[in-house]
Amino acid sequence: MAKAAKNYKRMSEELAGIIAWFESGEIDLDAASAKYEEALKLLGQMETYLKTAENKIHKISIGSKD
C-alpha cells in the first residue's frame, strides 16, 4: 500500500539533516553553498508536494454490506 517514491517525510528528514549541518558550527563556505543549493531544491520539491499532492480514495470491499 505504501509508495516507494520519495515522500514528504523523507524530504523533511533530509532537510532537517541539512539544517543540523548548518547548525553544527564547522562551516566551509564551498560546502555551505552546495548544501544551500541542496536545501533550496528540497524546499522546492516539498512546496510542490504540498501544493499539488492529492489523496486517493480506494474503496475496498469486505463482504457485503447488504
Binding site: 500500500m1 517525510k9 539544517i19 533550496l40 489523496n55 486517493k56 474503496k59 470491499s61
Partner: protein, 372 residues
C-alpha cells in the same frame, strides 16, 4: 381425519413451518437465567410480565458480558429441538435502552480493565505523516465525508483505503470486526487505522461497546484512531484505541499536519537558511579583509626591515671603502698600477704613485727601511 405424527415427524414439520413463517424473529425483553456453559454454549430466557421465552446460542454471538435484568434485543430463529424442546437460536443479542447499554458496557469495562486493555503503556503513537490510511466508516455518512474533506484540506499524497461498513445495527459489530481484521491481515498494512462515525443515541453507538469490536481494536497491529461524534460517554472502542478524537473532523486534524502551516514553516526555513548563508559569506569576507590587512602589514614590516638592513650594509660598505681611509688622511700606494701593502718588493729609485683624498702624486723611492 386428523393427522397423527410421530414425535420426530412433528418436530420436523413444526420446524419447517417455523422456518417458513418466522425465518428470523426479533424479540426484546428482560434477560433472565443467563448462563454460559463450557465457555461456549449460552442459555437464557427473555421475559416480560406475562411470558418467558428460552434462547440458545454460542458465546461468539455475544456482544460482551451480560447479566440478568438487562433489557436486550435478540435476533434469532425459533426452533423445536428433538430433546430439549422449544428455544430461539440467537445470532445477535444487543442491550437496548440507555440503562442496559451502559450497564453492559460497565460489565465489559471491568473485565477489559482487569486485562489491562486500557493501560496507557499500550498506547502507540500514530505516524505523523501517514502515507496510507485504513478508513472504516459508513459510505455516504457525514462522518466519512467530513473526515475525508478535512483530511484533504490539511494534507495530500495519501492513499486512503475505505472500508464501507455498517456502524450501527445488528450487522455493525461483525462488519467492524471483519474490516479491522482485514486491514491487519494485509501483507502491506496501512500506516494508521481510523474508525469513525457520527454521534447518535446509545442504541446507535452500541457497536462500539461490543466486545468483539473492542477486542479487535485492541488487538490491531496497526495503530488505531477511533472517533465517534459524541462527547458525553466515551465508548470502549475509543478507550482501547491508541488515540481517540471527539469528531471525525477532529480525527483528521489529529492524524495529519496542516499543509498551510507547513508551507509557512518552509518559507521561514528558506529565509533562515538564506540569512545563515549570508552571514557565512559576511564572516568569510571579514576574515579575508583581516588576512589582507595582516599580509599587507607584514609585507610592509618586511620591506622596512630590509631597507634598514640595506642602509646598515651601505654604511658598513662605505666605512670599509679605501676612499674613506684616504679622507681620514691615509694614502694608497701603487707601483705600476698595483697596490703596495709591503716594502718587501720595493727598492730605491722605484717609481710609485701615491693617492690621497684630494689627488695623486708620483714619487721615487729614496730608501727602503723595514720595521723591527
Amino acid at each position: 381425519m386428523d393427522t397423527v405424527f410421530t414425535p420426530a415427524d412433528f418436530v420436523a414439520v413444526l420446524n419447517q413451518t417455523l422456518e417458513f413463517a418466522y425465518p428470523s424473529v426479533i424479540i426484546e425483553g428482560e434477560l433472565s437465567n443467563f448462563k454460559v456453559s463450557k465457555n461456549r454454549w449460552v442459555y437464557f430466557d427473555l421475559k416480560d410480565d406475562e411470558a418467558s421465552v428460552r434462547f440458545f446460542g454460542t458465546v461468539y454471538n455475544l456482544p460482551g458480558p451480560l447479566e440478568d435484568g438487562l433489557t436486550v434485543r435478540v435476533i434469532g430463529a425459533p426452533r423445536l429441538h428433538e430433546r430439549f424442546g422449544f428455544s430461539v437460536n440467537f445470532r445477535s443479542i444487543q442491550p437496548v435502552g440507555e440503562g442496559s447499554i451502559k450497564k453492559a458496557a460497565d460489565l465489559l469495562y471491568k473485565q477489559l480493565e482487569k486485562e489491562g486493555l486500557f493501560a496507557l503503556e499500550r498506547k502507540r503513537p500514530l505516524p505523523s505523516m501517514p502515507r496510507s490510511i485504513g478508513l472504516i466508516s459508513a459510505s455516504g455518512s457525514a462522518a466519512a465525508a467530513d473526515f475525508i474533506k478535512i483530511l484533504g484540506e490539511r494534507w495530500g499524497g495519501m492513499d486512503i483505503y475505505f472500508s464501507d461498513v455498517y456502524v450501527q445495527g445488528e450487522q455493525a459489530p461483525l462488519q467492524l470486526t471483519a474490516a479491522i481484521e482485514h486491514f491487519n491481515q494485509l501483507s502491506v498494512m496501512p500506516e494508521a487505522l481510523v474508525i469513525t462515525r457520527g454521534g447518535g443515541s446509545a442504541d446507535d453507538l452500541a457497536a462500539f461497546d461490543d466486545e468483539r469490536v473492542v477486542r479487535a481494536v485492541a488487538a490491531s497491529r496497526i495503530p488505531t484512531l477511533v472517533a465517534i461524534g459524541h462527547e458525553i460517554d466515551v465508548s470502549l472502542a475509543e478507550l482501547v484505541a491508541d488515540l481517540r478524537a471527539s469528531t471525525p473532523s477532529n480525527a483528521a486534524q489529529i492524524l495529519v499536519p496542516d499543509k498551510k502551516h507547513e508551507l509557512t514553516t518552509l518559507a521561514r526555513t528558506k529565509q533562515s537558511l538564506s540569512q545563515f548563508l549570508d552571514s557565512i559569506y559576511e564572516s568569510e569576507r571579514k576574515d579575508l579583509t583581516t588576512r589582507q590587512l595582516f599580509l599587507s602589514s607584514h609585507l610592509k614590516n618586511l620591506f622596512s626591515k630590509e631597507l634598514e638592513n640595506l642602509s646598515s650594509s651601505r654604511k658598513l660598505i662605505e666605512a670599509l671603502s679605501p676612499n674613506a681611509a684616504l679622507r681620514r688622511g691615509y694614502a694608497l700606494v701603487k707601483k705600476e698600477g698595483k697596490h703596495i701593502a709591503s716594502v718587501q718588493r720595493l727598492t730605491a729609485s722605484d717609481s710609485l704613485n701615491v693617492a690621497l683624498a684630494d689627488g695623486t702624486i708620483d714619487v721615487n723611492v729614496v730608501e727602503v727601511k723595514t720595521h723591527g
